[in-house]
Symmetry: C2
Subunit: 339 residues, 2 copies
DNA sequence: TCCGAATCCTAGAACGTTCTAGTAGACGCC
DNA sequence: GGCGTCTACTAGAACGTTCTAGGATTCGGA
C-alpha cells in the first residue's frame, strides 16, 4: 500500500531509476520508444512525483510562497490571478494565511520552511526593516504596499490615479461640489487624497475642495456622513468601499436620495459593492495585471535576469454602478442604467 | 550562503548529526548539558529544520491538506478555525485553492503531491465516487457536504435545526404567516426546507406553510420577492444570505418596510450580512466547532484511533440583527435595537 | 580497421533529515 | 571481578528524487 516511486516504475519498465527521472521531467537523453514505454508504465502504476524529494535533491522548488490575510476579501480575489500567472511561469504556489490568531511572522516562517524560492506578501503590515531582513534570504515582492527598500519589489495600484478617475467621472456628470472622505494615515490614503486634490484642481474646482476625515470601517463612513450634512456636497469620493457603505447607510436612513441628491464613489470594488442592494460605483484595482506583475517580478529575481522596474504601478479603472448620477437639477442627464 | 543544516550545528557543537536531531525533536536520549549546548548553537546559527527532508525520511508529514474555494467567503472564515485546531493537534496546514480557472481535481492533486496525511475538503462538488476514490489513498473529511460513503468523514451543520431556529425566532415574535424561499436542489436546501416545515408544524402553523422556489443568488431572491407580493407573509426565511439580500433589495425598492411590514432571516452569516446597510438576521454556522471536529476526525483516521462518529453534525445558532421584528400590529413588541 | 562522436542508458552519490543498531562507559549487584 | 543494565552517544542506512560521470552501442569517415 506504499506510494509508487520512480524505482517501482523503473523495475516494471525494466530500465534504471535515472532514466525514468529523465523521462518524467521531459529532459533530453531518452529514446523515443523507451520514453513512450516508461510513460505508459507510469500511467498504469499511477505514478506521481514527490515534490519534496525532488526539491530536496535539486535545490529548486519552483515554489512561490504567498502570504495573505483571510480577513481581506480582496486578497482572496488576487489569489485567483496569482495561480494563473504562476502556472504559466511554471511555478506552484504555497499559501500561508494570516488570521486573527496567526500573525505575519508565523505565516512567513512557515513559507521559509517550505523552501519556496520567493515570497509574495499581500499588504504586509510588518515594518519595512523586517521586510528587508526577509529580502536578504529570499526575493520578496510586496503587493498593495509601498516599500522604499532597494531589495524589496513592489506591485501596487496607482491610487492617486484611481481617485482622479473618480473625480473625473463625477465632474463629467456635471458635479462641482465634490468632497472626499479620506483614510487618515492608512496605506494608500495619502495618495488617494492627493489624486482627489489634483483632479479637483485640474477641473478648476479648487474653490470647493473639501476633505473630511474618515477611516477604513463602516463607522468611519457613518461619522463622515454626519459631518457632511452641515454643508452637503453633491458628490463624495470615499477612501474605501466599506467606509462608503457606512456613509450610504446613514444617507439612506436620512432619506437622502442616492444618487439623486448625492453621488457616492467607493474604492476597491469589494465583492459586496456589487450587491444589488449596495450597487456602489467604485474604483477597481486591476487584479489580473497585478498578479501577473507580481509573479513576473518574483521570477525575475529568482532567475536573476536583469531588467524590469523594482516598483510596478498598475492603473485602476472605474466601475460605474448605481450610486453616481448627474447632480440634482442638472438638465438632460439621467442616472445611468444599473443593469 | 547555504542554509544551516543539522550537520552544521553538529560540527559546531562537536556532536553527531543524530544527536542534534534528537535534541531538536525533543526526543529522549540526550544529556541535559549537551542538550543545552546544542540548542544554544542551533539558536546562534539560526537553524531551521527542513520540513521536506524530515517528511522524506520519516514518512510522517504532520500536514493536513485543505481544499477551499476562493469564491466562497465562508470558506476563508473556516480557515481561521482550522489553523487553530490543527496547531493544537500538532499539525500544519497545506492550502490549495479552487478558483474560477483551477478546478477541484487540480487542487486535490497538488495536495496529494505535497504528501499531506489527510484531506479536508470544503464543500467539494466532485461526485461522491471521486471522493471515495480519494479516500482509498488518504483519510478524507468533507465539510459542509453530506456524503453517504462509509470511508469518507463528514462535518456539517444541522441545517434543519438552523431553519427551525429561524422559524422559532419569528414565531416567538408573534409571526404566523411565515414563508420560506428555498434553494432548490442545492446541497443543504432540502434540509433547510424540512426544518422550516417541521418548525411550522410544531408551532401549529401548518395551515399557512408556503414555500417559494428560489436559489443561491441575488436574482433568485429578487424573483421570489415578486412571487411573495401576491399574498404577502409577515416573515420569510431564505435559503442563504445572498438570496435574502436580493429579496431585501426588491422589498426596499417597493417601499416595503423591513422589519416593520416584513421580517427576513437569511442563512450563513456571510460577512456582508453584518454591514449596517444590510444588517440581516441570519443563521450562523459554528465555524470554530466545525473546524475543531474536522481536524479531530482527520487526526483520528491518521492515527487510527478508534471511536468517534463518521459524521459530525454541528448545531448552528441564530444571529439576530435588524431585519426581524414583531409583525405589524402586534402589541408591545418593538423591533430589537440594531446595535 | 580503427577512431571519434553521438546517442541512449546506468551506477552511485548527494540533498537534509530520521531511524535502527550498536558502542563506550558508568554503575550496581552478587 | 565478572556480568548485566542503563545512559549518552554515534555510525550509517534509508526516504525519493536529481545530478555527475561514465559505459555501451552505433555510425560515419579516414
Amino acid at each position: 500500500m506504499r506510494r509508487t516511486t520512480l524505482a517501482d516504475v523503473a523495475d516494471e519498465a525494466g530500465v534504471s531509476v535515472a532514466l525514468v527521472s529523465i523521462v518524467m521531467r521531459g529532459a533530453p537523453g531518452a529514446g523515443a520508444a523507451t520514453r513512450e514505454r516508461v510513460l505508459e508504465v507510469a500511467r498504469r502504476l499511477d505514478y506521481r512525483p514527490d515534490t519534496r524529494a525532488r526539491l530536496l535533491r535539486s535545490g529548486r522548488s519552483q515554489l512561490l510562497g504567498v502570504m495573505f490575510d483571510v480577513r481581506h476579501p480582496f486578497h482572496v480575489d488576487v489569489l485567483t490571478g496569482l495561480y494563473d500567472a504562476a502556472g504559466q511561469a511554471g511555478y506552484q504556489l504555497t499559501l500561508s494565511a494570516v488570521t486573527p490568531r496567526r500573525d505575519e511572522q508565523t505565516a512567513v516562517t512557515e513559507l521559509m520552511q517550505d523552501r519556496c524560492e520567493a515570497l509574495v506578501l499581500f499588504s504586509p503590515r510588518m515594518p519595512s526593516a523586517a521586510l528587508a531582513a526577509l529580502a536578504e534570504q529570499r526575493p520578496v515582492v510586496t503587493m498593495m504596499r509601498a516599500v522604499r527598500r532597494r531589495d524589496v519589489d513592489v506591485v501596487r495600484t496607482d491610487d492617486a490615479l484611481g481617485s482622479h478617475q473618480a473625480v473625473d467621472h463625477l465632474a463629467g456628470l456635471g458635479h462641482t461640489r465634490i468632497a472626499h472622505v479620506d483614510g487618515g494615515a492608512l496605506p494608500g490614503a495619502a495618495e488617494r487624497r492627493l489624486g482627489y486634490q489634483q483632479a479637483m484642481a485640474q477641473h478648476g474646482l479648487t474653490s470647493y475642495e473639501k476633505i473630511v476625515s474618515g477611516g477604513p470601517g463602516e463607522e468611519d463612513g457613518a461619522r463622515a456622513a454626519a459631518v457632511l450634512f452641515g454643508d452637503p456636497p453633491t458628490a463624495v469620493t470615499v477612501f474605501n468601499d466599506l467606509s462608503a457603505t457606512g456613509l450610504l447607510d446613514v444617507l439612506r436612513r436620512h432619506r437622502v436620495d442616492v444618487p439623486g441628491d448625492l453621488s457616492v464613489v467607493g474604492y476597491d470594488d469589494s465583492s459586496f459593492s456589487r450587491l444589488a442592494h449596495i450597487d456602489l460605483t467604485t474604483v477597481a484595482q486591476d487584479i489580473a495585471a497585478m498578479a501577473g506583475h507580481a509573479v513576473a517580478r518574483a521570477v525575475h529575481r529568482i532567475e536573476d535576469t536583469p531588467g524590469g522596474d523594482r516598483e510596478t504601478i498598475v492603473a485602476p479603472h472605474l466601475v460605474i454602478r448605481g450610486t453616481t448620477a448627474a447632480p440634482p437639477g442638472a438638465p438632460g442627464s439621467d442616472p445611468l442604467p444599473t443593469g
